[in-house]
């Protein structure tokens, strides 16, 4: 049984390392209580969530203000998303056994700090109940709005590469 404090650092690396390790340990279920799901922009955590889904782990996210492009990505991976009232304290709960409590912070990198509880089922179950209550009052987000997708947006305002890439002749060039 472990309890550790996650100290703040400039890139949130401590936080991310603990979170990715916990997600990778998940066997059945990952529950998340978040605000804007800002951590999903970190590739290490995004990939940990993808690995969990590939292992058949159920992933559910409760968020207060999830951007549609993030919701699109989560739904594409079979992650359930619920939107509801603001929760200042955020949690990552693994298999109703271990969890991270992220303390309220400004939504910028370098401000995350919290506590990690490993193999603390009694405490974890209390947080799971909190998650379940929040989900009861929430709205499930099930629709993909592809017009919010960064690739769709890039199509509307294509990048200026300043050179012709001769896309239709790639096979000849690389043959």
């Amino acid at each position: 049984m472990t309890f550790r404090t996650i100290k703040r650092d400039t890139t949130d690396e401590n936080f991310r390392r603990y979170a990715a390790k916990l997600i990778d340990s998940a066997k059945k279920e990952v529950l998340v209580i978040a605000g804007e799901i800002g951590v999903y922009s970190f590739p290490d955590l995004k990939w940990a969530a993808e690995r969990a889904r590939k292992r058949g782990v159920s992933v559910k996210v409760y968020a207060t203000n999830p951007p549609q492009q993030v919701v699109n990505g989560l739904l594409a991976k079979g992650i359930e998303v619920f939107k509801g009232p603001v929760m200042k304290d955020h949690f990552l709960i693994i298999d109703s056994k271990s969890f991270i409590h992220s303390k309220p912070h400004q939504p910028v990198v370098g401000k995350r700090e919290g506590e990690v509880y490993v193999n603390k089922p009694a405490e974890a179950r209390k947080v799971v109940k909190r998650f379940e209550k929040l989900v009861e009052k929430s709205k499930p987000l099930t629709k993909v709005d592809w017009k919010q997708d960064p690739l769709w947006k890039a199509l509307q305002n294509p990048l200026d590469w300043k050179v012709d890439t001769h896309a239709s002749r790639l096979d000849e060039e690389f043959a």
Binding site: S41, P43, Q69, G73, A76, V144, W146, D149, P150, L151, W152, K153, A154, L155, P158, L159, D160, W161, K162, V163, D164, T165, H166, A167, S168, L170, D171
Partner: protein
């Protein structure tokens, strides 16, 4: 299922590509007709490699910013 290959991505994302209009129209139509579009790490790697090699005569700062923009687009999508 629709799998997006390198040439379509390049043509669609690069307004200077000779097939930009065709690539853009193809990808837009795929977005509108299918719930999900698929690609792979290899395809994305190829896009980055081509962006990097084709712009080798341009300033380094421009090349780095182009790679960053492409990366932001594909990572967020």
């Amino acid at each position: 299922m629709v799998f997006v290959d390198t040439n379509v991505l390049l043509a669609a994302l690069n307004e200077h590509d000779s097939d930009h209009k065709k690539g853009k129209a193809l990808l837009e139509s795929a977005f509108q007709r299918f719930a999900w579009l698929y690609t792979s790490d290899y395809i994305l790697d190829e896009c980055f490699s081509i962006a990097w090699s084709k712009t080798r005569k341009l300033p380094l700062s421009f090349r780095l910013s182009l790679i960053k923009k492409i990366d932001d687009t594909v990572q967020g999508s």
